[in-house]
């Protein structure tokens, strides 16, 4: 078996027992990236040199008998929305094409302390807004199972690189499903931890009350390994939970006795693809055969989740992205061109239909920089948010959505009094073709039907493979758990993975 086919947990064990060196392992992944990524395009940057140097240092330290961190020598990829000091962090946006953060994100510090090897930055939808990676300013990522299809998004590069065996682990972010949906589309395991479980310090903000960093991995066991390193209190993020982090990797293999799974009446049925539904129902039968009880429950406000999410998410995005003004960092419009055009406009006596001709040069610079630096989807979200927050609409949209958000949270609180976890689909359909939805924003947004509510409620949720469509495309199962119950979620997922082998399948035809 090729080295890259082993799980992160297996690789770590081989590193620890010195069957392989960190340099060998890193080289193996770099070669794999070299061979495969021209077609998948999961990476925006591969840090070959620094990864090899770091690997060599780890090997020397291991030789010298020094104590090493928990992920010592294991390559990890990062979504390119997470700041790395001095290294380009672009958010897949022209706006930040040359941005080099002055500090590391908290999760990057933690990975470095754990002696992980940061192997590269992965592609995403611009500023993490999208469900396909097609809004990336650079190029879309392809689904490793079928290169003509989307890998999901926004952490599409992160999911695709794990599925295509170009990295054993990667770090993504999930604002409305951006870890779980690409995990489902790529046939891997991805988790959105509870809001506050992982520090957002150094994560470039999209929607601050919804964003959460989490692991993308091949198995629940591997996700546990990575989450254990990512999670923990950080005073630099005031929403960070000041609670001890359980040793997820130590307990993940223990099955749960007397597990009760809730199945949401509103999740199965209308709007759900038949193959996804059949795979989810089969997964429930697997759980029953493992001793779990399945109970039907209701989340009556589930149908309002998408509207609520797109109001709140867009409002927060418009506010967060106001910082991109061309003044402090990021893209600025070409000033000589701007001056020449203003002079010509003035001379011709035309100001255009907008009020832009009345703006002083500074404001004109903002408007041009933002128009040239942002792509279409980011502009749509900024516009939606600005509209919903503007005078006369605030109560009708933003405030209303905040109230419905509480109703959605209350639904979950009530559900978790009756069941331990909720099981259901991740996405309404299997992965679709590149280009299929890119011109129809609302259709794309509706794909977040099963995922966005977990972000609104702040609970934890996980996606993992539970079958394949007749076209050989991965189908995902979602498990949702009460706040801070990541351990329960991971154990339940691992239980399923000991009884099934969907997570061991790998895309063919990449070699």
């Amino acid at each position: 078996m090729a080295l890259v086919e082993a799980t992160a947990t297996e690789l770590l064990q081989r590193l620890q027992t010195r069957q392989i060196s960190a340099v060998e392992l890193t080289q193996e992944y770099l070669q794999r990236i070299e061979r495969v990524d021209g077609r998948v395009r999961a990476f925006l940057q591969v840090e070959a040199q620094s990864a090899l140097e770091r690997s060599a240092r780890i090997d020397r330290r291991r030789q010298a008998g020094e104590s090493l961190g928990r992920l010592a020598g294991l390559p990890v990829a990062l979504k390119d929305v997470i700041c790395t000091e001095g290294g380009r962090t672009t958010c897949a946006s022209k706006m930040l094409a040359e941005f080099r953060p002055p500090y590391d994100a908290a999760v990057v510090e933690r990975l470095k302390q754990a002696d992980a090897i940061l192997i590269g930055k992965t592609n995403l939808d611009e500023f993490a807004m999208g469900s396909t990676t097609e809004t990336s300013a650079w190029a879309p990522t392809s689904n490793p199972w079928d290169l003509s299809r989307v890998p999901g998004g926004s952490s599409g590069g992160g999911a695709a690189c794990v599925a295509a065996r170009m990295a054993p682990l990667s770090v993504g972010t999930d604002t409305g499903g951006s870890i779980r949906q690409p995990a489902a589309f790529c046939g891997i395991t991805g988790m959105k931890p509870t809001y506050g479980r992982v520090s957002r310090y150094g994560l470039i903000a999209f929607a601050s009350s919804l964003d959460q960093i989490g692991p993308l991995a091949r198995t629940a066991e591997d996700a546990a390994l990575l989450l254990e390193v990512l999670a923990g209190h950080d005073p630099r993020d005031s929403t960070s939970a000041d609670l001890p982090v359980p040793a997820y990797s130590q307990t993940v293999a223990q099955p749960l006795e007397g597990l009760t799974l809730g199945v949401v009446r509103e999740h199965l049925g209308e709007g759900l693809d038949g193959e996804v539904e059949a795979a989810v129902r089969e997964a429930l039968r697997v759980y029953q055969s493992l001793g779990a009880r399945v109970k039907e429950i209701s989340l009556p406000h589930n149908r309002y989740a998408i509207a609520t999410y797109y109001v709140i998410g867009s409002c927060e995005a418009s506010s967060n992205l106001a910082r991109y003004d061309g003044a402090h960092y990021g893209y600025r419009t070409d000033e000589p061109t701007m001056r020449a055009e203003r002079a010509a406009q003035r001379q011709a006596g035309t100001g255009g239909k907008q009020t832009s001709d009345l703006d002083p040069p500074l404001v004109e610079m903002y408007r041009r920089s933002r128009a040239e630096g942002f792509g279409a989807e980011v502009k749509r979200r900024v516009m939606l948010g600005t509209y919903a927050l503007s005078h006369g609409y605030y109560d009708a949209y933003y405030l209303k959505a905040l109230k419905v958000r509480r109703l959605i949270r209350n639904d979950f609180d009530q559900a978790f009094q009756q069941v331990d976890l909720i099981a259901g689909p991740v996405t309404p359909t299997p992965p679709y073709r590149l280009g299929e939805k890119v011109e129809d924003p609302l259709a794309m947004y509706l794909g977040d039907l099963y995922t966005a509510s977990a972000n609104l409620a702040g609970i934890t949720a996980l996606a993992m493979p539970c079958g394949f469509s007749r076209h050989g495309l991965p189908l995902g199962l979602q498990l949702q758990g009460p706040p801070l119950e990541e351990e329960r979620l991971l154990r339940a997922a691992a239980m399923y993975q000991t009884a099934t082998d969907w997570h061991q399948r790998q895309p063919a035809g990449l070699d």
Binding site: T355, P360, L407
Partner: protein, 96 residues
């Protein structure tokens, strides 16, 4: 409440975004569709519901009042599109 082209142009001004005529047309259609979808929320009576701004409703999160290292000037200016030794440089704030 249907979104017009004029509304969209006004929002673009508020959002500090120059939109081309084509973008305005496209955006008007797409945003109107999404905003119409938002009307779904109007079905619910929320008069007795407290708004929920955050999933974790923590307040008064303080740190110790101790001096800590902050970003130095050079690091803060390092990504500026235009700068001098100590400031960001921008086009004229008033007039041309």
């Amino acid at each position: 409440m249907s979104l017009t082209r004029q509304d969209v142009a006004k929002v673009a001004t508020l959002a500090r975004l120059n939109l081309t005529e084509d973008e305005l047309d496209m955006m008007t259609g797409q945003l109107a569709q999404v905003v119409e979808y938002f009307e779904l929320l109007g079905e619910l009576d929320t008069s007795e519901v407290e708004p929920m701004a955050h999933a974790v409703e923590r307040t008064d999160v303080f740190r110790d009042d101790r001096v800590a290292r902050s970003l130095g000037r050079d690091a803060a200016l390092a990504n500026a599109p235009k700068r001098d030794d100590e400031c960001y440089r921008v086009p004229a704030v008033l007039g041309d």
